[in-house]
């Protein structure tokens, strides 16, 4: 749960988690195992099609929630079930307490329900009733008075020894640290609670309108006992669980367990319709209630941006693959809901005070979006929430100022040129700053920072612009700030490679920063103005392609511009055309210009070369394997490092706000590269170069980090 009142407190609590060795090791093991299991689970499926179908059917359902609710209600009531609708979390808890009171309930057993976690139901009931969680992980955290640290595995942060101590205390008997035995102790201890309970509370993964049934997905089977033995059954579920038909539920079931735990299906899926047989209930029929929780869901369903959040099937995959979750665990990367979706839901269900710090702890790597069972554009929505919070709270002076500065290209560029003069005494002669400028803290010292180049790319352009010979394609070059002002040599190398492929290049001087840093800081309005300037500078009508060497710029230009400018009647069409023409350097060189083995010198090089796949290239643009093929074609000895496509920890402003996390990610990356024995590391993004080169330098690694364009340019015939 989030208790931090400001970013620095939050950062400190994340640091503590970083220092928890058990957690770190458990999370690392889990992250690697999960990736492999998931790949196997989807091996013989059309994963992307399935996810698209789920997204589409969920959207259709979200658009008619009130109607589905009425249909469900009519069906369920005809089958003897009482259906309730709670507007708020408190109301839901009150309804459930009232049902318990009306039925003379003393003891309640629960099966796992994230919705009950959302409403903090246990807290509301515990004073009056004895409440026992029966899902093993939930029981453990209930006994420890904690919240879940994962949506599917709530106790993943705990070791067997901690569970042993806990169970020893609970049973009054010394237990062993043998997991099989601990599980059996829980089996026997909990069995008695089922037998004694008067009421069972469950969640529902589905509320099926066509039949008035609920569907429950579990592995342990505790939901079957919870819904069978006690005489009263209450199911609590969010309105978003309304599902038109069994078919829709079966479809979700094809993805949910595979995505959650790599299982084809969980051990149990339980479908309950109507008040079933129950020997201890009056008249031999169960007293059954379904409580639907709104808690802002109806309003979300009508929001064009955020309705898709309601597609979530709570598989937890977005946490499983998140590099930040892997570092700090669910108690830090979430409030009650965990991981990427947790950052978003916290804002809607628990308010912006809980969400304010959380939403900044996303590096925007896109790993969550890539695996989401419901195809939710999670990273974008996280940024969007950050932006909304700033709009509500007021923008901090620095980020607003930066926004205003970046909007004014001339001023911004003049400032960069002036900064170059100021850094002169700090330069070490190898392109790094000797020590950190004043605005940095010592925590930022895990990577050496580059100096601003003597001459920006824009000043070189006139000299290096290739003469037009037998040209075929008109190309607009987009440099981005880092390559323009820090690493112009990367641009110059790319120009050489593209000239070899006979592209006709143009570099319009009016272009500026792509605006991604502004969006990362939640400055959406400023980002839109910058976008408009760039679209005007590189008028898509003049080019066949707009090429950039920066994966982050590319994904910003391609995916964000059309959205940022959608409401600007003068620009929206241009922005779409512009986006259509944006392409990354490697894809352009290999797929469009057709540069391959024949274009490179015929002498093989023995130095091993590893590659880092930038998040915004492999996931943002879906370009996978292209750069690696180019590296091999160029005669370099390419070696694949482990977790080649996991984030390097740069994330622009993220690395400023959370330097400790950035450092950990960087170290993991460099360790994996070191294991290959590579002496050269190539990538497709100047931001990644800055992070990786600065990190390698600080660590003293014998590793040359470069943009792929530089290596290719050297190898041309």
């Amino acid at each position: 749960m989030q208790k931090s009142t400001n970013l620095s407190e939050y950062r400190k609590s994340c640091q503590e988690a970083l220092g928890d060795d058990f957690l770190r090791e458990a999370m690392d093991k889990f992250a690697t195992a999960y990736r492999a299991n998931r790949v196997n689970a989807f091996a013989d499926m059309h994963e992307k099609e399935l996810i698209a179908e789920i997204a589409e059917s969920k959207d259709a359902a979200i658009a008619r929630l009130p109607e589905l609710f009425e249909q469900f209600r009519a069906k369920a009531e005809a089958a003897g079930v009482k259906v309730h609708l709670a507007r708020t979390a408190g109301e839901a808890n009150e309804i459930i307490a009232r049902i318990a009171r009306d039925n003379g309930v003393k003891k309640i057993v629960k099966s796992k329900s994230m919705t009950a976690e959302e409403t903090l139901l246990n807290h509301a009931l515990e004073d009056e009733f004895e409440v026992v969680e029966t899902d093993l992980g939930e029981w453990i955290i209930q006994l420890r008075h904690e919240g879940p640290s994962h949506m599917v595995m709530p106790a993943i942060h705990l070791s067997r020894h901690q569970v042993r101590d806990l169970f020893s205390e609970v049973t009054g008997q010394q237990q062993e640290s043998d997991i099989q035995k601990l599980v059996k102790v829980a089996r026997r201890e909990l069995r008695r609670h089922y037998a004694e309970a008067d009421m069972g509370i469950s969640g529902a993964n589905f509320a099926i309108a066509e039949t008035g049934s609920i569907g429950l997905v579990t592995n342990e089977g505790n939901a079957r006992l919870v819904t069978t033995l006690p005489r009263v059954h209450v199911a609590l579920c969010g309105l978003d669980k309304l599902t038109p038909s069994i078919h829709d539920a079966l479809r979700v079931l094809k993805a949910l367990p595979r995505n959650a735990t790599g299982q084809a299906l969980t051990s149990y899926v339980t479908w309950i319709t109507g008040a079933n047989e129950c020997a201890t209930a009056e008249g031999g029929r169960k007293e059954m209630h379904v409580v639907f929780l709104d808690n802002g869901r109806s309003a979300m369903a009508e929001d064009p941006d955020f309705a898709q959040v309601l597609r979530c099937v709570r598989c937890g995959a977005c946490a499983n693959v998140c590099p930040v979750y892997r570092l700090v665990g669910g108690h830090k990367m979430g409030h009650i809901y965990i991981g990427a979706i947790g950052l978003i839901l916290t804002y809607f269900f628990h308010g912006r005070d809980k969400a304010r710090n959380l939403v900044q702890n996303c590096i925007n790597c896109g790993a969550c979006k890539e695996v989401c069972a419901a195809g939710i554009d999670l990273p974008r929505l996280i940024k969007e929430i950050h932006s909304r919070i700033l709009d509500e709270d007021g923008h901090p002076t620095y980020s607003d100022l930066l926004g205003k500065l970046m909007k004014n290209r001339k001023l911004f560029h003049t400032l960069l040129r002036t900064a170059k003069l100021g850094q002169a005494p700090l330069k070490d002669g190898e392109g790094f700053l000797r020590h950190l400028p004043l605005m940095f803290f010592k925590e930022h010292n895990y990577r050496a920072l580059p100096t601003i180049a003597e001459k920006p790319f824009r000043d070189m352009w006139k000299e290096i612009e290739p003469k037009l010979t037998g040209t075929k394609l008109r190309v607009g070059l987009f440099a981005g700030c880092v390559q323009d002002f820090v690493y112009p040599e990367q641009m110059a190398a790319a120009v050489k490679v593209m000239d070899h492929g006979k592209a006709h290049m143009d570099f319009p001087m009016e272009q500026s920063c792509c605006g991604l840093p502004l969006q990362m800081m939640g400055e959406t309005a400023h980002a839109a103005e910058v976008a408009a300037q760039n679209v005007a500078a590189l008028d898509p009508a003049r080019y066949d392609y707009i090429v950039t060497l920066c994966a982050s710029c590319a994904s910003q230009l391609k995916h964000s511009y059309p959205r940022l400018l959608a409401d600007d009647p003068a620009m929206s069409l241009k922005a779409k055309q512009f986006a259509d023409k944006v392409i990354d350097f490697s894809s352009f060189v290999r797929d469009v210009l057709g540069i391959g083995a024949d274009d490179f010198q015929n002498v093989a090089v023995t130095t091993k070369t590893a590659y880092h796949a930038p998040c915004h290239l492999c996931r943002g643009l879906g370009v996978v394997g292209t750069s690696q093929e180019l590296i091999s074609d160029s005669g370099l000895d390419y070696v694949k490092a482990d977790e080649e496509d996991v984030c390097c920890g740069f994330g622009g402003t993220f690395s400023m706000k959370f330097p400790e996390e950035s450092k950990e990610l960087l170290n993991k990356k460099l360790d994996n590269v070191a294991k290959t024995g590579a002496k050269q590391l190539l990538t497709d993004c100047p931001g990644c170069v800055m992070q990786l080169r600065g990190g390698a330098r600080r660590r003293g690694d014998d590793l040359q980090v470069r943009h792929i364009a530089e290596a290719l340019a050297e190898r041309l015939k």
């Binding site: 093993l136 709530p154 070791s159 008997q173 997991i179 089922y194």
Partner: protein, 210 residues
């Protein structure tokens, strides 16, 4: 291979992968013999690690002591000649066959015996009608669940049983279950443990013919 054979093969592979034991039987009497034999071979609950031998709180320990001594098989859905046949087989080995009164056996029974409605090959799942509370409990508090599944009822995917399934679900009240392997958890250090609340073993007997 005929399409039935393909389905049987896939079903078997998938079910075994998640820890179910799958065998072919030619008749119900063969299924009964299997059940009694399994019950005879299986250890009493202490040794089966269902937890009775472990240090428990006093309240939980008392419940264990309430367990009846002769081994118990529950087959709530069997009737008529079939029930008599299984009862006789049990009796011959000193076991008790029960059809109801499951609530008196919440500490656990040895075997729950059922006949499943459908099988789903893609996931190795049985579709178990559990409308009867006795049956529901028999499939949960038993240490081993033995389910007979007629081969003719195996379908390729969940969509292929959808029509029949919707009818079963819609006939309210109803309580249906997809069961895929035994009860499992990985909640402690992500280590797999079977039999956390329900059966420690699931045996599926594929019944040939109609």
């Amino acid at each position: 291979m005929s399409s039935v054979d393909t389905l049987v093969t896939e079903f078997t592979q998938r079910a075994e992968k998640v820890g179910a034991v799958v065998s072919m039987v030619k008749s119900m009497s063969e299924a009964f013999a299997y059940t009694v034999d399994l019950c005879e071979r299986k250890d009493a609950c202490q040794l089966l690690l269902s937890g009775c031998g472990l240090p428990l709180s006093d309240a939980a320990g008392e419940m264990c002591e309430a367990r009846t001594q002769p081994k118990v098989v529950a087959a709530p859905a069997l009737a008529g000649e079939e029930r008599e046949a299984l009862a006789a087989a049990c009796e011959a080995k000193g076991m008790t066959l029960i059809s109801d009164g499951m609530r008196k056996h919440l500490a656990g029974i040895d075997i729950g015996f059922t006949v499943a409605e459908y099988g789903i090959a893609e996931t190795g799942t049985i579709v178990q009608n559990s409308n009867s509370e006795e049956l529901r409990l028999a499939t949960m508090v038993s240490e081993n669940h033995v389910a007979v599944l007629p081969v003719s009822r195996i379908r390729a995917t969940s969509y292929d049983v959808e029509r029949e399934f919707v009818n079963m679900v819609d006939a309210s009240p109803s309580y249906m279950a997809f069961i895929t392997g035994p009860s499992r958890t990985a909640d402690i250090e992500r280590v797999l443990a079977l039999g956390v609340h329900g059966p420690l073993e699931l045996h599926i007997l594929l019944l040939e013919g109609e």
